[in-house]
Amino acid sequence: MRVRFWGVRGSLPVPGARTERYGGNTSCVEITSAAGTRIIIDGGTGIRRLGKELMRAEFESGKGQAHILVSHTHWDHIQGLPFFSPFYREGNRLFVYARQRDDQNLRSVFASQADAPFFPVSFDRTRASVSFRELHDGAKFEIDDVQVATTRLNHPHVATAYAIAADGARVAYVADTAPFTDILFGQEFLSGPPHQNVRLSRSDKTKLKAMASAVVRLCEGADLVIYDTMYTADEYRQLPHFGHSRPSDAIGVCSEAGVRTLALFHHAPDRTDGEVDAMLDGARLQAGQLAHKVEVLAAFEGLDIQLGKA
């Protein structure tokens, strides 16, 4: 199985010299099994260059097939899709997966991104065959030789984590999520951090605990876990209501789940290359002190990892 990172940034793309090494494109990760099954997790701006590369092979002649798993539909996870060239070539088959919602139909959420007055090419003009598959929380399914497991995350409007298993290897993608300690997110807008004297209700605590153990189960024994570590401890104290984690949260989950390697991911837009380096150093120090050693790296555009049998 081959894992390639095309976009590692959260919130919005950040071009410029200060993000040159880790990259400024928003979230997109490609996973290909040895048998050639192609999975793409999230369609941030990084998916544009992936699309260009795919158009150099079978997608150019309309014979490509890919499965796009969407963690959630916040802009930084879907804004590259209208620029994904394989959509515009007849014959290509694309499958889009995301969590089922009772308030919105998945196709219409995606189509509305390509509507006037926002974009000149309407979704009806995509030439490829595009199928949408809505997932219920905790769904497990197979895509050819690949097993996919899911669980819900703690994020405004809810996000889905995915685990991908093939070729004797396992990768989990856990973004975006807050830790499972202070706030339980639903759909609602949170204008600020919760008041310190307001305690979580017993039922919220129970839900968070169940969510946390489901995430640990999803990551259990994974070779690689890609985790939303957008915040430093300080930033989390100020902005717990936006639904992102710190490296320490990711290390906690990975250590409990016996994970081999953790990839810090979804870097904050204002995090410079030097600051990501510093965050990585801190995380390695922390992970090194645990009984179960977790290897830590910081995801960057172009990172290419081979897992299991090739």
């Binding site: 793309p13 494109n25 000149p120």
Partner: protein, 280 residues
């Protein structure tokens, strides 16, 4: 007046080593008038860095006031809106003007970008600052007169803005696809005698010829508009997402030669680049 480029790219931000010099952020230009008024033209991802610079001053204390002009509502011109820091400071006041829309329509467009499925803040009303939407093709901001002129942009329109203040004129004309005969008399009147004409230059003439009409300009269109409207300086703008810094250098050099061939030696040319300020 002082004009600063914060985002000069079209379509989609293009981060990476190949775009570091001109910049990969989508369209955003700021104008600071001599009387201190602040104007932001378009709100692509470049707006984030402009917002950060404003937060260091009055906008960080909730005492800022600015006018936002939107040429049209394609993503690359509004996607920075949710990430413009000064919108989140209560006390700041903004007037948003999108010349082609009535104010209710403009509000609905911006609200759709903020909706819960796309962004956690859910409404621009939750951002904190006072943000008002205005329609209209003529406004006054401090001592400046601003007029909006609708240009053809594929099947839709994009506004060109003319800002006149203290004897100086700035024209911003991004996202325009002229008919075969080039800019109309009405368009040239709107552009006339600009000290700085910021003009759409998405493509080289060769690349433009290969696209089905999408309502964008080539280098030839930009030169044509500058020569016929008698611009003092032409700034190329809104480059294709795949153009590298070298490609843009080449556009500027070719633009210089084309201006000279047209006898417009006195018109200067520059390639708009993030972080560059032009004083008029």
């Amino acid at each position: 007046m002082e004009v600063t480029f914060w985002g000069v790219r079209g379509a989609i931000p293009s981060p990476g080593p190949a775009t570091v010099r001109y910049g990969g952020n989508t369209s955003c230009v700021s104008v600071r008038l001599d009387d201190g008024e602040t104007i932001m033209i378009d709100c692509g991802t470049g707006a984030r860095n402009f917002g950060l610079s404003l937060l260091a001053g009055a906008f960080g204390k909730g005492k800022g006031c600015a006018t936002v002009l939107l040429s049209h509502s394609h993503w690359d011109h509004i996607q920075g809106f949710p990430f413009f820091g000064p919108f989140y400071v209560p006390g700041n006041r903004f007037t948003v003007i999108g010349g082609s829309q009535d104010s209710e329509l403009l509000e609905r467009v911006l609200e759709r970008q903020m909706a819960a499925q796309f962004f956690p803040v859910q409404s621009y009303r939750n951002m904190g600052a006072q943000i008002e939407m205005h329609a209209g093709r003529e406004v006054r901001v401090g001592n400046a007169k601003i007029t909006a002129h609708p240009n053809p942009h594929g099947p839709t329109q994009a506004m060109a803005f003319r800002i006149e203040s203290e004897g100086k004129t700035l024209v911003y004309a991004s996202d325009v696809g002229y008919e075969k005969d080039g800019p109309t008399q009405g368009t040239l009147t709107a552009y006339r005698n600009a000290d700085l004409l910021i003009h759409d230059c998405t493509f080289t003439p060769e690349d433009r010829a290969q696209r089905i009409s999408r309502g964008l300009s080539s280098l030839d269109d930009a030169v044509e508009a500058a020569v016929r409207s008698n611009a003092r300086t032409l700034a190329l703008f809104h480059y294709d997402q795949d153009y590298t810094d070298q490609d843009v250098d080449e556009l500027v050099a070719r633009g210089r030669r084309k201006l000279d061939q047209r006898g417009a030696q006195s018109t200067s040319i520059l390639g708009a680049a993030e972080g560059v300020t032009v004083r008029l």
